[in-house]
Symmetry: C2
Subunit: 377 residues, 2 copies
């Protein structure tokens, strides 16, 4: 079996369907929990699966530095190493090189940087990024790109884009033929429509199994992100999956799905969980808030995760305040379950032609604000 | 149903059987995982049960300070609060007041101290210690005692013992009648046989459902602990459970079971797990050690816990080095499973009259040394 994408139903620009791969089916729209260093933080792989995840994201940058791609290959690949048998998408490391490492020197050849783990000098090129992903055994591999921070001038974005497109071509060549594995290109160009269009056109000419939108969710307002998607998505092939990288809050995801996006990844549910913040059907809650100290209600009465089934908000407040590991475990589990329920809700709504009603419930709970982290008495 | 203790088989001084309580049976010899602040650190309650635990220990000192005994009572008691329906034994808080709090002033009335959580002045008396345990809904409640540090002079131990015995009497009176719940006395007296004998005699005169041995595992050599047990156990009623508090390493437990102890608690499996240390059938292992970096073998081939079933030593090494939460989760689970397997092994060995052969295997793997934490390259 090779990589294929099937659309089962559409409503407006939104679509629902599935990606078929040898390691399993990925129901779309899909949310990919982030398993940076070969673990979705505070979760066992079987628990991640229990929340409904079909695919994880792994970070090339982190894994190349520790424990090392060659080491993971000798141990049988990333799936076996981390105990996750279903598909894994890996990024190319480009974004993390820019955000986490020091002493970066970018040339046409690639990027030279200093490891944030041990200070060693490291090098990443399109060819090495694809080699690492192949060594990991990644199912969906991303091209190496350069991702400038927001805001940036048009000239800076244009220069960066030209480099990213040359790297995309070399990445695809380095990916070569890997039956059952896929290679995705990444549309760059910031919030400049003509640059985004140029990027999409050049990537389509190279030809990829799927198309990601990069360089969003880097600080721009939601409206700018949605407008950018409105401009890009019509330029992308309808028969290939579209992946919005690093997004986002529940309302970001819903808005992007309505604009034709099929795949997402974000650290928000896991990172928020470790910080005592929960996504619920009523909206975001900060469990540190003293008003939960004697609240016997479950975190989210519509959820069936262990945090909601077996514990009260009062208990979660207690373990968050006491900095107990179980707080990270339970809130991460809940948040990932919430995100997977959100995606299942979106898939059902598109299939049954009621996406707008579903979306308005999510916007009502989430579009107002981010997690309330004011009161902490 | 009330509290009862049934001995099914004996071999020498060792015995195996069960404590019957309304919330469930406790197979003895039993190991109680420590759930200090209403959580066994890094474990979900259902996972603790999966390892084979019949009973947990909760810490009165921590729970009275946060979230507070009255609050837990209003929320339905400790079992409901922390999602553990089986028996819970609570200590009286005396040991932690001495080891964790500041500004202690001990009088006959009780002990005044400063909370290590928020600096507030707190007070614990025999009456308050028992009231807290009743508010928590504890199944097995411990008398308040004073536990002097090792080494201490005979005169200091004798003075402390006299206070502990007065407090034991008041604790028992405060416990009153609680059908289905039990109250245990604590034998003190350091390593002085005549003081231990005096303590045991006075406690038996008061009359308790079980008898604990306190003031051991506080720094004395193992041989002193075993000699003290040799002296005490014959003085205790054979038809009541005997509990050695805060013990210990696997070989400590085996030696104590051979001397007639029925119950244990210790933070060692959980705390070691969070520090990258594992108890295995081959002996202790420090997963930080570089020799595990590419070791594809399971942690302990004789174990069926998730850490051993689904991951390699190489993976555990990686997540320990990367300080990932899953390292604490997996190694805690494994260590608790190891301890419960040890207790099941002891119960089976006593029932089948082969305790010495079983014990010699454990001594061979564990009596040599503690966990090897030298090489960490």
């Amino acid at each position: 079996m090779t990589f294929s994408f099937e659309i089962a139903a559409t409503q407006g620009s939104a679509r629902t369907g599935a990606i078929h791969m040898p390691r399993g089916e990925i129901r779309t729209p899909a949310f990919m929990p982030v398993g940076t260093a070969a673990t979705v933080k505070a979760m066992l792989p079987e628990s991640v699966r229990e929340t409904g995840a079909d695919i994880l994201l792994g970070n090339t940058y982190h894994l190349m530095l520790r424990p090392g791609a060659e080491r993971i290959a000798r141990l049988g690949g990333l799936h076996k190493f981390m105990g996750w048998e279903r598909p894994i998408l890996t990024d190319s490391g480009g974004f993390q090189v820019m955000s986490l490492s020091k002493l970066r020197k970018i040339t046409d050849e690639g990027v030279r940087f200093q490891s944030h783990v041990d200070g060693a000098e490291e090098f990443l090129s399109p060819e090495r990024a694809m080699e690492i992903q192949r060594l990991l055994g990644s199912d969906i591999q991303m091209v190496l790109d350069e991702c400038p921070a927001f805001p940036a001038t048009e000239a800076a974005i244009e220069k960066s884009l030209a480099l990213s497109m040359r790297w995309a071509k070399r990445s695809k060549a380095a990916f070569g033929e890997q039956p059952g594995h896929a290679c995705f290109g990444i549309v760059q160009g910031g919030i400049f429509p003509h640059l985004r269009a140029r990027s999409a056109g050049e990537l389509i000419e190279i030809g990829f199994d799927g198309y990601a939108v990069g360089g969003l969710a880097v600080g721009e307002p939601q409206v700018a992100m949605f407008e950018t998607l409105d401009g890009i998505v019509p330029l992308l092939p309808t028969d290939r999956p579209r992946y919005l990288m690093g997004v986002g809050k529940p309302d970001d995801i819903v808005g992007a799905v309505m604009r034709g996006i099929d795949m997402f990844d974000c650290v928000l549910p896991t990172r928020s969980g470790r910080n005592g913040q929960a996504f619920t059907r009523e909206g975001p809650l900060n469990l540190r808030n003293a008003r939960f100290a004697e609240d016997p209600a479950p975190l989210d009465s519509g959820c069936r995760c262990p945090a909601c089934r077996n514990f009260s908000r009062a208990y979660l407040h207690h373990v968050v305040k006491a900095k107990e590991i179980i707080a990270s475990m339970l809130l991460t589990w809940h948040n990932l379950a919430f995100y997977q329920d959100l995606m299942a809700g979106l898939r059902g709504a598109i299939a049954e032609d009621r996406l707008e009603a579903f979306a308005s419930l999510v916007f009502e709970a989430y579009a107002r604000e981010t997690v309330d982290d004011t009161a902490d008495i």
